[in-house]
Amino acid sequence: MTHAGQTVEGSVAALFRVALLRDGRGLRIGLTTVAFMVHQLCEALVPVLIGVVIDRAMAPADRAALVWWLAALGGVFVVLSLSYRRASSSMVTVYGYGEHELRRRAMTRLLDPLSLRRRPGSGEALSLVSSDTYRVAGVSWSVVQQASTLTAILTGSVALLLISVPLGVGVIAGTVLMLVVMRRVSMPLEARGLAEQGSAARASEVATDLITGIRVVAGMNARAEAARRYRTASDTSRRGAVAASRSVLAYSGLSQLLSGVFLAALATASGYLALDGHITIGQLVTVLGLAQFLQGALAHVGTFASNWIHKRASARRLGELIDAPPLIEPLSAETVAEPGSSLLRWHPPGHGEPLDLHPGDLVGVVPHHPAHARGLSDRLGYRVPLPRGELLIGGVDAVDLGPDRVRARVLAPPHHGAVFSGTLHANLIPRGGAVDPAVTAAAMLDDVREQIGGDLAEVGEHGRRLSGGQRQRLLLARALHADADLVVLDEPATAVDPVTEQRIAEGLRSLPSTILLITTSPILLSACDRVVELGAAEDAGQDPNGSPVDT
């Protein structure tokens, strides 16, 4: 990946290529476009045939001609219907898999082991993975629909050119004029519409916020105030939605007006031509039918510009994510051998001496400040760039191993770990395997397993069926189930009561795993083989290995 050299335009084009051309979509979309064009061609032929029926059958009262031309009309309808059905079922595949591929790429980057230098917040990430991929994938619809509309206009123009050159030229000129005018009009309208759509989402944000915090709200008797706040937000949203709709109404009103004027001009001009005998009455009817059909096609042409503005904005945002530089430098080409021993040496920043961890150790680390605890866990989990020499596994530098191999040996899950919807078992052992009763007992999870109805019970969205304490015990048991040389636990018992915490401390002691506990809890620290205090070490020059605490 070359990050610096890539222009924004380049990444937009690349994403459109993914949506349109990859995995055989190119051929399929080509065929689909042809099918849609055939469909539109037939749609354009219907008014032409109406004119022909009136001209060749009705006016001369020719019964045979009526039968023949109605049969031709029937044939056109058959082709029209079949081509449309063929094309629309093909589009589901093109669009669906195109969207999926874009979503997969965005998701892969969000889950990049090397992390991202600028991580989008979860709201932004969600809108990237859902709305932006949806819009960019929609480029396939834009291409086929717009191509087929242009085909319809072209067919109409050719038919008109055959009838009368000035009329045909007039239609083409009208189409171009429409495109230009509507594009000019659409830009400011679009910008305003987007801003208003943003304010329309305000009510949802406020509702989610207040309902999620409903226990806190209820606790402080603030339900009435919450309802009042929602009313205010809802009102903002209402005004935003109304304003956005007005923009759309103004836009479509203008497009309706322009295409109507175009129809009137075309109809009057062809009337003059018919009056002067340049075209027959039947041809006049055809022209009028076509003009009416073209009015609709032209109104669609009017929306092209705004359609692409949306898609390009989404593609630009998505491109920024997909081409975003990683936070951690990728490994250089040569790979180092897997370290033989599982001896770990960690050199905490600002701490005098390195900390050695032997198999089976239970070591407590007291951070200088709780915020510092998150930082320590991030370092051991290699979620931030590490300087050379900070973390050594079996004598090999973590920087040479790369984050993925380091994480296979050192498991340092984040303090606010995520619980996923699914069974308790799937959350407990995400990489698969059997439940270890010793671990669930040590993490005090056994009563949770019983209470929620066994390992195969669902835990709900984000684990909402579990209380804070239950969730924390699940996270603890999950970490202890991992097959790693070292498990780093960042304040693992903050949401449980002292009695449970005491039992967890005893449980951790009983396990054979190598554990590094980042905590300020005296109960947990009392269970450790040794305790190291960070922060104060810089100036004090204390015993580097910390002091054993008797238990």
């Binding site: 079922s89 008797n221 339900r223 009103g253 009137a264 400040h369 899950p413 109805g453 002292p498 009695v499």
Partner: protein, 594 residues
């Protein structure tokens, strides 16, 4: 405890039936019936103006056939422009009125939904999943709103066009109009067949897509955990599998829609052919002019678009109706759970807390609390101690007036005029918006000075030193706060609300020594002079309380002062001994020997 514990019952929130939903929506629209009438008439006028087009085009044909002058053609051309202009202007004006009205009705509905939801008993909200409520006030509201602003104008326009075109045809010639109606049975058949099956298929598609969305949301929020456990592959595969399933079902949907479209095309052909054949016969017998026959065919051709749009949006309408029935389902709860006025009055004096023989079970079977009796004299504090699942938090909530006991009574102050109570929950929730917004929840009318004063009193001087002071936007969109600081703000809120009774189920454990010292200071100020119940998440909290009550399995195991319980040598004494063995000082300094 029973061994075969099943999952707690999930009582789903109600959904209104179709009839009730329709009645409710009509009732809400009726209150604006005049504006609605004007908007619809305007739109109708707009559609009528545009429908002058086919007869005007027919007029051009007749004018040419009769060899009229250029002047008449020019007049017809101008009439076409006029019809278009009037149509566009009326469509815009009517659309504006309709949108404003519909959005107003919708905003009123969603506000009522929220108001009802936020006043539901917390237990109802929790057992049915707050996510259900959230999805109703967000996703369902958005689906309805989208339908209101996108589908409604289109459907209105399409229906008017169809109706007026038929009128136009009938005015031209009744026989031509009847010929056009030949296609009607096909339309009816196609629509019935489509709706019968589409309901299930599109329901499935929405479910599959929402399940896929769920995977995305959880993976995005849990990215750090996924990376730590190196389970990216698992989540991406899961996403791929769900995507494929949604696409496959969409294919079924397209098949249905294609069959529907095919029948519509057949109907279009049948109707058009019938109009042309009738026109042929009538023109042959001299009953109509060529222009009239042309206009009839053009009228009919003009119907293709609106008929397709109307029938095509039936599915969207169905979806919006489902959303509406879920919203009405909530507003209908408003009657059953009367909105209790929140005790705003500040009671003079300090009330007692009296709990007598309280029992409580969440699911109605397995009791969480059994025959709990306790008393907290005015101005004193009681600490609740116990293992998780012992019922401390449940008892605290009952004392705070959130939920009512199955048996027994909770009295705070005098039984006739219960004192207002304030509960600081275990949940740490930072509300969106500014620091002032977060504080004013507890006391909406508070002045900036009062807010600053409360923060200072709580020892939260750091909050006053934020970049924009009280107007600093907090959270992911602005200045992020750690959990300890969010709790600190929560304690400042108590001082702001100044309640006579405080229940603290608050865990300062998340915070480290420095923040904890600050928070303990704030806690001391919050409890000073108030009657309070404290759920002890740390044993220091128990020692500082006037009395301690130990819960075990929902029953009172022992109660007394800290010293009494230590002397008694029971569960509390054992707990304290284990805790104290760690050699930890009460101020929270970690144990490090030199």
């Amino acid at each position: 405890m029973t061994s075969d514990q099943t999952t707690p019952p999930v009582t789903a929130l109600p959904v209104a039936d179709a009839r009730r939903t329709r009645a409710e929506i009509l009732r809400r629209l009726r209150t604006h019936h005049r504006r609605l009438g004007v908007a619809l008439l305007t739109l109708l006028g707009g559609t009528a103006a545009t429908l002058a087009t086919p007869p005007l085009l027919g007029g051009i044909v007749d004018a040419v056939a009769e060899g009229s002058g250029r002047g008449q053609l020019a007049a017809l051309g101008l009439a076409l422009v006029g019809a278009t202009a009037v149509g566009a202007v009326l469509a815009y004006a009517g659309g504006r009125m309709l949108v404003a009205l519909v959005q107003e009705v919708l905003a009123q509905l969603r506000e009522d939904v929220f108001e009802t939801a936020v006043h539901l008993p917390v237990n109802t909200l929790e057992s049915s999943g707050s996510s259900d409520v959230v999805s109703r006030v967000t996703r369902d509201v958005e689906a309805v709103s989208e339908a209101a602003s996108d589908v409604l104008p289109e459907v209105t326009h399409a229906s008017f066009t169809i109706g007026l075109s038929l009128v136009g045809l009938a005015v031209l010639d009744l026989r031509l109009a009847l010929a056009g109606l030949v296609c009607l049975p096909v339309h009816v058949y196609a629509t019935r067949q489509f709706l019968r099956r589409s309901h299930r298929v599109y329901g499935d598609i929405r479910r599959l897509e929402s399940a896929r969305g769920q995977v995305v949301v959880e993976a995005v929020r849990g990215a750090e955990s996924i990376v730590a456990y190196r389970t990216q592959g698992h989540h991406l595969d899961d996403l791929a599998e769900r995507s494929v399933r949604a696409i496959e079902r969409q294919r079924d949907g397209v098949k249905l829609r294609n069959r529907f479209t095919g029948l519509l095309n057949a109907a279009e052909f049948l109707g058009l052919a019938a109009v042309l054949v009738t026109g042929f016969a009538l023109f042959g017998s001299g009953a109509v002019t060529l222009g009239a026959a042309t206009a009839a065919a053009l009228y009919f051709h003009r119907l293709f678009g609106p008929v397709g749009a109307l029938l095509g949006s039936l599915d969207d309408i169905q979806r919006a109706t489902v959303g509406l029935s879920r919203l009405v389902g909530i507003t209908d709860l408003g009657g059953r759970h009367p909105v209790r006025p929140e005790s705003e009055a500040r009671d003079p004096g300090r009330p007692d807390i009296d709990v007598k023989g309280v029992s409580y079970a969440y699911d109605g079977t397995r009791p969480t609390l059994r025959e709990v009796t306790l008393r907290v004299p005015a101005g004193t504090s009681l600490a609740l101690v116990g293992a998780s699942g012992s019922g401390k938090s449940t008892l605290a909530r009952l004392v705070a007036g959130i939920g009512t006991p199955d048996r027994g009574s909770v009295t705070v102050g005098s039984p006739d005029a219960p004192a207002s109570r304030y509960l600081v929950t275990q949940e740490v929730h930072l509300f969106g918006g500014t620091l002032a917004d977060n504080l004013r929840l507890a006391r909406p009318g508070a002045t900036d000075d009062q807010l600053s004063h409360a923060l200072r009193e709580a020892g939260a001087d750091w909050a006053l030193n934020l970049e924009d002071g009280l107007d600093t936007v907090l959270g992911p969109a602005g200045t992020p706060l750690d959990d300890g600081s969010v709790q600190h703000v929560a304690l400042a809120r108590v001082l702001l609300a100044d309640p006579p009774v405080v229940v603290l189920d608050e865990a300062t454990a998340e915070s480290g020594p420095q923040t904890r010292t600050l928070l303990q200071g704030a806690l001391a100020r919050v409890t000073a002079g108030r009657t309070c119940v404290v759920v002890a998440h740390r044993l220091e909290q128990a020692r500082l309380a006037d009395r301690v009550l130990v819960l075990r399995g929902g029953e009172v195991a022992e109660q007394g002062t800290h010293d009494e319980l230590l002397a008694a040598g029971g569960a509390y004494a054992a707990l304290w001994a284990a805790y104290h063995r760690t050699g930890r000082d009460d101020d929270g300094a970690p144990p490090v020997s030199p």
